[in-house]
């Protein structure tokens, strides 16, 4: 295996061309912003809720210590040492491992496509937050103007606004429909904003992150104060944080914790490698890694508190409405005076009536109203943001301001993550010297953004949401774990643990201790292998189906489970495995190149010997 020579002082001339961060704060904010993304808001609280509340923190912390921080340190250190993007770094470590960088590049590209689509949706909601009343608070009327549109009446105003007025979703994935021009405009705007911020690389990104990385924390704090003062918030927090230790026996919980840490820190994309490569050579990457990982986890917890308070508020509101409906039925049926039964009296009155006239009470078909049932309703992903939260802000006084703040926060969270994704796409292109010399940096970045925008218009079709869920499930997960496994194995074994520790000692002034060496050599690779196998088994065992929104379905308000058609299943498989094929592909190409070169050398050697003079 050919090992790369480290960069020598003679290449310092090349290094001067490499952009640099203006100060350490920009670098830290960029990495924190890349790590902290939409998943911290809408995935971590959902996992906490479904996996035993506070008990989920145990596997989460274990995964952070044994998998998250070591892998993160490897990425930052190798980027800072070899001072290249992901493709350049792996080529420098070993020409046979050059494919790993290409996998990172492909995955970053695929993720950028659908991540910015989610940002386009967030932007659409943000633009609609500035009107009174909020457009998702009322149902539109049917053509006769005698009632509400049946689809809206049967579900709710918020769900109707999301599925019909925003997505205009079709009932089946093979039915593509037309491109939604409103969302297309929002997509163009969000790609324009991304291009504006990355137009000159970290020169512009470094200034943009001052706002986009700090604004979400400001909004989260404001929301925290508001949310804790809402009625029902404390019930929500208590219920959702009380630990259920029985959940720890379920291996699914540990798998979810490990994957959550992995995706939450945005490992394997190549963005962190690129960011670290712009650092000065003497920079304490160990402290940076630990700091950023901890900030990411603390942000997840902070966001979980806000989310649970608001979910508790929403559950209390729904519970109150349920009680009011039942009370009205009781008053009408039993001729009780108007408003004589309050919500607190309800249980006593119901018990009394049930004892005296049970048949009449049974005939009323009252809904069972328990606060725990409403609290247990969990949502994650776009459902949490666009349905649950959108409905929750409707009930807060000053709804427009809260809606605008919330969606503005989501937009800046997503924007900083997009910077990291695009860095993982653009930096390798510069490393590969893919562009002709006359093409300036701005033009190449513009071409990449334009290409991504055109490719992402496919998600703006009416069936776009189904495709986005497919990309979300299949495109990133397996390939990233594969990439990270090769990263840690490549650095620990191919680059050499001793050489790596020497590099780190030179960069930070301290040699990595036993914890780092053990995790890099043994624990993290084993963990990643286990996660890879478990994830593969999970994906294979889950029947490939999707939940469609079909108004003609019999049980309409709930989604209809439909199996994927054959060609969609084939696409899922391709998405999962095709990017990883770069690794064996490049290794084979390198082997072939070596063999042909060796064969050419053995052909030439007899001629030299015949020459005689050496």
């Amino acid at each position: 295996m050919a090992c790369a020579a480290g960069p020598d002082p003679a290449s310092d001339g090349v290094e001067d061309e490499r952009p640099r961060w203006d100060n350490k704060l920009q670098y830290l904010l960029s990495c924190v912003g890349f790590a902290v993304g939409l998943g911290n808001i809408w995935r971590f609280p959902y996992l906490c809720q479904t996996h035993g509340g506070g008990a989920f923190l145990v596997p989460y912390l274990v995964a952070l210590v044994f998998e998250g921080i070591p892998l993160f340190h490897v990425e930052l250190a190798i980027g800072q040492r070899l001072r290249r993007g992901s493709v350049g770094v792996w080529r420098a470590i070993s020409p046979y491992l050059g494919g790993v960088g290409l996998v990172c590049f492909t995955v970053s590209l695929l993720v950028s496509l659908y991540y910015n689509t989610v940002l386009a949706w967030v932007l659409w909601y943000l633009l609609n937050s500035f009107q009174h009343p909020l457009p998702w608070s009322t149902c539109p009327l049917d053509p006769n103007r005698t009632g509400l549109v049946p689809e809206c009446r049967d579900t709710s105003t918020v769900t109707y606004f999301w599925y019909r007025e925003t997505l205009n979703i079709t009932a089946d994935i093979s039915d593509s429909g037309t491109v939604q021009w409103r969302l297309l405009l929002c997509l163009a705007a969000s790609w324009a904003v991304v291009y504006l911020c990355i137009i000159r690389g970290i020169e512009t990104t470094g200034k943009a992150v001052y706002f986009t990385a700090l604004f979400p924390y400001l909004v989260l704090s404001v929301f925290l104060v508001r949310a804790l003062t809402l009625p029902g918030a404390t019930e929500g927090l208590l219920r959702l944080f009380t630990p259920d230790m029985q959940a720890l026996w379920n291996p699914r919980v540990w798998l979810d914790a490990a994957t959550q840490i992995f995706f939450s820190l945005s490992l394997g994309f190549g963005g962190h490698i690129a960011f670290a490569s712009y650092n000065p050579p003497r920079n304490d990457c160990e402290r940076d890694a630990v700091t950023i990982a901890l900030v990411n986890s603390v942000t997840s917890l902070y966001a979980a508190i806000v989310v649970f308070s608001i979910l508790g508020f929403k559950a209390a509101k729904d519970h109150g409405r349920c009680l009011d409906g039942n009370i009205l039925l009781l008053i009408n049926a039993f001729d009780l005076p108007d408003q004589s039964v309050s919500r607190d009296d309800y249980t006593a009155v119901l018990a009394h009536l049930n004892a005296t006239q049970p048949e009449r009470v049974a005939g009323l078909h009252l809904q069972a109203c328990h606060l725990e049932d409403f609290l247990d309703k969990s949502a994650s992903g776009s459902g949490l943001a666009f349905i649950v939260f959108a409905e929750a802000v409707l009930h807060m006084p000053g709804a427009q301001a809260w809606a605008a703040l919330f969606f503005g926060m989501l937009f800046s969270l997503g924007l900083t993550s997009m910077f990291g994704n695009m860095e993982g796409v653009v930096a390798p292109l510069f490393d590969l010297k893919a562009q002709p010399a006359w093409l300036p940096r701005e033009a190449l970045t513009g071409l990449v953004c334009l290409a991504c925008f055109l490719l992402a218009t496919g998600f703006m079709l009416q069936s776009g949401n189904y495709w986005l869920e497919i990309f979300d499930q299949y495109a990133a997960s397996l390939n990233l774990i594969f990439c990270a496994f090769f990263e840690v194995v490549g650095v620990a074994y191919v680059y050499g643990m001793k050489r790596f520790c020497d590099d780190i000692a030179r960069m930070t002034g301290r040699r990595p201790g036993l914890y780092w060496q053990v995790t890099w050599k043994v624990v993290s690779p084993l963990l990643l292998l286990t996660i890879f196998v478990a994830f593969l088994a999970l994906l294979a065992s889950r029947p490939p189906s999707y939940r469609a929104w079909n108004p003609q379905h019999e049980e309409f308000p709930s989604h209809q489970e439909k199996p994927h058609p054959g060609w969609v299943q084939a696409t899922c498989m391709l998405l999962s495995f095709l990017p990883s094929l770069w690794v064996p592909g490049v290794a084979l190409a390198q082997l072939l190149a070596q063999w042909t070169e060796a064969a050419a050398r053995t052909d030439r050697r007899p001629k030299l010997q015949g020459g005689g003079v050496r």
Binding site: W124, R145, T146, A189
Partner: protein, 154 residues
């Protein structure tokens, strides 16, 4: 004192009515009356201080008021603002980048001119050219700054 007699008591206050046209001595058909009531529902409700939920006309569904739509949807206005700001800022950045690029291209050529001039001039001090002094034999006083170091490189 009058006695109030009730008969045919129902749960709600209800009554039937017909509308007659005295000039033509006929009763108006139900369809005409229904459409007239539909158009003026609000005025009839207000006359009784009731609303659609409390005053019901059988077989006349109430028409709901549509939400007011401004002529230009508000989201387009805000989208226009954000998009134009982004485009203007991008243009400014691109233009400043092109200007810097042109300045850098001009810059090195200017530096080359000054270096040529430096080599051609012979520094003269007190009427005696300095270079020949260094060329002649004898000791060179290192305390004096040499020719090259006087001009600090850029």
């Amino acid at each position: 004192i009058f006695q109030v007699l009730l008969c045919n008591v129902t749960q709600r206050v209800s009554f039937w009515f017909v509308v007659t046209d005295p000039s033509k001595n006929r009763t108006l058909p139900a369809a005409e009356v229904q459409s007239a009531i539909r158009m003026n529902r609000n005025r009839i409700n207000n006359a009784f201080f009731l609303n659609d939920q409390t005053l019901e006309f059988l077989r006349i569904p109430s028409t709901l008021a549509p939400p007011t739509d401004p002529s230009v949807p508000i989201w387009i206005i805000i989208f226009g603002v954000i998009f134009s700001i982004t485009v203007v800022a991008t243009m400014l950045l691109i233009l400043s980048g092109i200007q810097e690029h042109r300045r850098k291209n001009k810059g090195p050529s200017e530096m080359e001119d000054t270096e040529d001039k430096r080599e051609n001039t012979v520094t003269i001090e007190n009427g005696i050219p300095c270079d020949p002094l260094n060329m002649k034999g004898g000791h060179i006083n290192d305390a004096f700054v040499t020719e090259d170091e006087r001009l600090t490189p850029l």
